[in-house]
């Protein structure tokens, strides 16, 4: 099991671009040497440092709490528990790539789960349709965010803080401030805990979405436009990119993914709580920012985000199993967020000075 997770995390490293693109300025004639150094750097701490941190943590916990740690159940818990965090982090990658903040994703997750739970309770529609409704509502929240940012021209941080509060209130109102549990066992539950070929489906969703998102962001014109809009909106606009459309799509995809994460969370717990998503906001941001320091130095990317969730999940779970206090995981993900952003800032600093 360990081998599965680590190989997926390392897969994008084979991408030669990510290595070459980050070579510091070197005269053209030393190109060959630069390439060789680049290949080494691809496996270096600067590019996939989180992999080494993760391996280190696995080793520490294996020594510290061998009985609890080296257990099939630990791996299963890690994959299924943190699949929701990973989905939330992926949803953030989309908007952050366009340099937009979405503080509403926690509330959107809650609402997605509550909508699905509400439809299960009040209608006889099949569970898959109820789940889809949760996703669609998420996309609509994204649309509302986009309208506030594009049309009303608010800062995304402020706009999504506002929409987040409203969406959280909607989740409470729709659920009647109760935890919805009706019709949640059975088929709906399977959406999150089912297995295909012995692998948890929630984990598979993460892997499939990660790969798909990676392809779209790196290999399509749409992905290029998304990154260009994030890096330099005006330059993108002058190149004929419809930046407003890019922002609308980014918010809607992000909202839909957050809704999906909320549905999976509700399905796994067999309960939709009106504040269930709120706990995922900080870990998701931590993962997205830590992920941006991996593979593509400063570029928000799905592989990095998933790897970062693995790091955060391993640390949090290990601390919990080792008998740490209940607040330890929160401290851990808060620290990760600060450290990740500090790394990004430190990496950008000299480059900006050198180029200007």
């Amino acid at each position: 099991m360990n081998s599965t997770t680590s190989s997926t995390a390392e897969a994008p490293v084979k991408e030669p671009r990510s290595i070459l693109g980050e070579e510091p300025a070197a005269p053209a004639d030393t190109g060959l040497r630069a390439n060789r150094r680049g290949a080494l750097r691809g496996l270096g701490f600067g590019t996939i440092g989180a992999v080494y941190v993760w391996l280190g943590m696995v080793a520490v916990f294996a020594v510290w709490i061998p009985d609890l740690w080296l257990d099939q159940a630990t791996v299963t818990t890690l994959m299924s528990d943190y699949a929701v965090t990973a989905l939330a982090a992926l949803s953030l990658v989309v908007v952050l790539a366009a340099r937009l903040f979405d503080l509403s994703i926690g509330a959107t997750m809650s609402l997605g789960g509550v909508v699905a739970g509400h439809m299960l309770a009040t209608t006889s529609l099949p569970p898959a349709l109820c789940a889809a409704a949760g996703v669609i509502v998420g996309a609509l929240v994204g649309l509302a965010n986009a309208l506030a940012v594009v049309w009303l021209r608010l800062e995304s941080l402020i706009a999504t803080l506002g929409t987040g509060a409203i969406v959280a209130a909607m989740a409470v109102a729709l659920s009647g401030d109760k935890v919805l549990t009706e019709r949640m066992s059975g088929d709906f539950n399977l959406i999150a805990i089912g297995e295909i070929a012995g692998v948890n489906v929630a984990f598979l969703y993460v892997i499939v979405l990660m790969i798909l998102m990676g392809l779209v962001l790196e290999q399509t014109a749409g992905g290029r436009r998304l990154y260009a809009t994030g890096y330099n909106t005006e330059a993108a606009r002058l190149m004929g990119v419809r930046v407003n459309r890019v922002k609308v799509v980014a918010f809607m995809v992000s909202g839909a993914l957050a809704g999906f994460a909320g549905v999976i969370l509700a399905a796994r717990l067999q309960a939709a709580a009106p504040d269930a998503g709120a706990h995922y906001l900080i870990p998701a941001f931590s993962a997205a920012f830590l992920g941006a320091t991996q593979f593509r130095h400063g570029r928000f990317n799905p592989w990095g985000a998933v790897l970062a969730v693995l790091v955060i999940g391993t640390g949090s779970l290990g601390l919990a199993l080792a008998g740490g206090p209940t607040w330890a995981p929160d401290v851990f993900s808060g620290l990760i967020l600060i450290i990740a952003v500090a790394i990004t800032v430190a990496e950008r600093g000299p480059r900006r000075a050198g180029a200007s």
């Binding site: 070579e23 190109g31 014109a221 260009a228 330099n232 330059a235 993108a236 002058l238 190149m239």
Partner: protein, 517 residues
């Protein structure tokens, strides 16, 4: 009147690989307006920065204020010696009022950290009175008229908290002023001079220089060419002095080739209007490179983005026979075949964080994608072709754009414009931050493009650009084309004279000058 206030002797400043100032001498008397003139890159800015203490001059340089040597390279020392600066951008916080702005540098009146607003405002009011323009000192500076903002900046410079102001140095003070307000500013300067303040006046507007200054010093290539009285000097003579060659020798333009009289117009623009431009007409023929000249604020800086739909504008536009109404978007302009190339120093010229290949690909995804999926190899190959063609160094499509030198950035920016096979190329300041060698190759490239079917409009603040690559130049003053120079008439002196004209006061002399050539 003749006692010396500021004396610069043998002031030199060497940057790595460049002698920006060499043994400059300058003498400013008490109560005179002394103009400092010269082309871009002649050393004016460096000299001002040496005076302000931003640059430390080379050893052997000597600067004295009222006979006392100045500690070089020390901003506090310059301030204490009484040197006061009003920079072109004024350096005011738009959201604050004059009282607060002046307080930020001069300090606030008050005790124990509490501002005594009544006393502070009284002091600011006295300062504004010295300047002689009445301003609401509590109104946000950003909402004041341009000349009122200048007045606030001058008042701030005249504050004596940090010592008595002795020399006021104004850098292009009229660049952002409409003509009517220029006269008010000139009145302010005249009043200050009456009260014994010495003024160094830096400007490109030769008419103003001759009008306001008592004497002037010409800088060329870092050398001071001497100080002259402005009495009896005319603009043509001054322009010749600045450029450094007799008018007849300026502007040998070997590149010129006659444009066929039957050449069809590719681009026709009528009634182009923006905040700065007023109903400008222009047309660009096959094989032609059209230049647009003008000082800052003349509308020259609006023209290129306006043509490409990147700046709000109204116009009637015809490209290769197809006309469109007014108010285009960037996408529509690109659809018409107009490609905008911004100066590489412009923040929106390209995406610094993306690679050369990604930047080139972004401007035409269809060239690098198949069925919607970008092919990395294809993207690199296309980028390599352009790198080859435009001679970009290093030849590495995976290099981050932000890491390239100015000239190479400019070439990548050109590639971004050219990859869409435009019918017309619109360039703005194509050589800003570009070294001499790359500059020549950009000139050659633009010429070649024109000859092979892609004519250009070049809007540039750098007269070398216009002399170096254009066939014809429109000169803008206050948003209107005041003169059109063609062929051998495109010279630095001719351009300088035309750019310095004042639209509000029609002046027959420069027009005659243009006719003679």
């Amino acid at each position: 009147m003749s006692d010396v206030r500021l004396q610069l002797s043998d002031v030199s400043k060497t940057f790595p690989g460049q002698q920006a100032l060499s043994r400059v001498n300058l003498e400013v008397r008490a109560g005179e307006v002394h103009a400092l003139v010269g082309e871009n890159g002649s050393g004016k800015s460096t000299l001002i920065k040496v005076l302000s203490g931003f640059h430390r001059p080379d050893p052997g340089s000597r600067i004295e204020v009222d006979g006392v040597g100045l500690d070089p390279g020390n901003p506090a020392g310059s301030l204490a010696a009484g040197l006061r600066f009003v920079h072109q951008d004024l350096g005011l916080v738009d959201e604050l009022g004059a009282a607060e702005n002046i307080g930020l540098t001069a300090g606030f009146e008050g005790k124990l950290g509490r501002v005594a607003w009544r006393a502070h405002r009284e002091r600011v009011r006295r300062l504004m009175e010295r300047v002689g323009i009445e301003v609401d000192i509590d109104k946000q500076v950003g909402r004041l008229a341009p000349v009122e903002r200048s007045a606030v900046a001058i008042a701030r410079a005249l504050d004596d908290t940090h010592g008595v102001p002795r020399v006021l140095i104004l850098d292009e003070p009229t660049a952002a002023l409409p003509p009517a307000e220029v006269d008010r500013l000139m009145q302010v300067l005249a009043d200050l001079r009456e009260r014994g303040v010495s003024i160094i006046y830096v400007s490109h507007r030769l008419g103003e220089v001759l009008g306001v200054a008592d004497r002037l010093t010409v800088l060329r290539d870092g050398h001071s060419l001497g100080t002259l009285a402005t009495d009896g000097m005319d603009e043509a003579a001054l322009a010749e002095l600045i450029v450094g060659r007799p008018v007849s020798e300026i502007g040998r333009r070997e590149h010129l080739h006659p444009i066929s009289p039957t050449a069809q117009p590719i681009l026709i623009v009528n009634d182009l209007a923006t905040d700065l431009l007023r109903k400008v007409d222009l047309s660009l023929r096959e094989g032609e490179v059209l230049g647009v000249a003008g000082i800052a604020g003349s509308g020259r800086e609006d023209l290129a983005p306006a043509l490409a739909g990147a700046h709000p504008a109204t116009m009637r536009l015809t490209v290769a026979g197809a006309s469109s109404k007014s108010g285009m978007s960037v996408r529509q302009a690109r659809g018409c075949g107009i490609a905008l190339v911004l100066p590489n120093s412009h923040p929106a010229a390209a995406v610094r964080e993306q690679t050369v290949a990604e930047n080139i690909g972004l401007s035409r995804p269809s060239a690098v994608a198949r069925r919607g999926w970008i092919s990395r190899r294809r993207e690199r190959d296309v980028a390599r072709e352009w790198i080859e063609r435009l001679d970009v160094a290093p030849r590495d499509p995976d290099r981050d754009y932000g890491l390239l030198s100015g000239g190479n950035k400019q070439k990548v920016a050109l590639a971004r414009g050219l990859i869409g096979a435009p019918k017309v190329l619109v360039l703005q300041d194509p050589t800003s931050g570009v070294d001499v060698g790359a500059r020549q190759s950009i000139y050659q490239l633009v010429r070649d493009l024109a000859a092979t079917g892609t004519p250009s409009v070049v809007c540039s603040a750098d007269l070398d650009d216009l002399v170096g690559m254009t066939d014809r130049v429109l000169v803008l003053v206050d948003g209107v084309v005041v003169e059109e120079l063609e062929g051998d008439a495109v010279t630095e002196a001719g351009l300088l004279a035309a750019m310095a004209r004042r639209r509000s006061v029609p002046d027959p002399a420069p027009a005659q000058m243009g006719d003679q050539r």
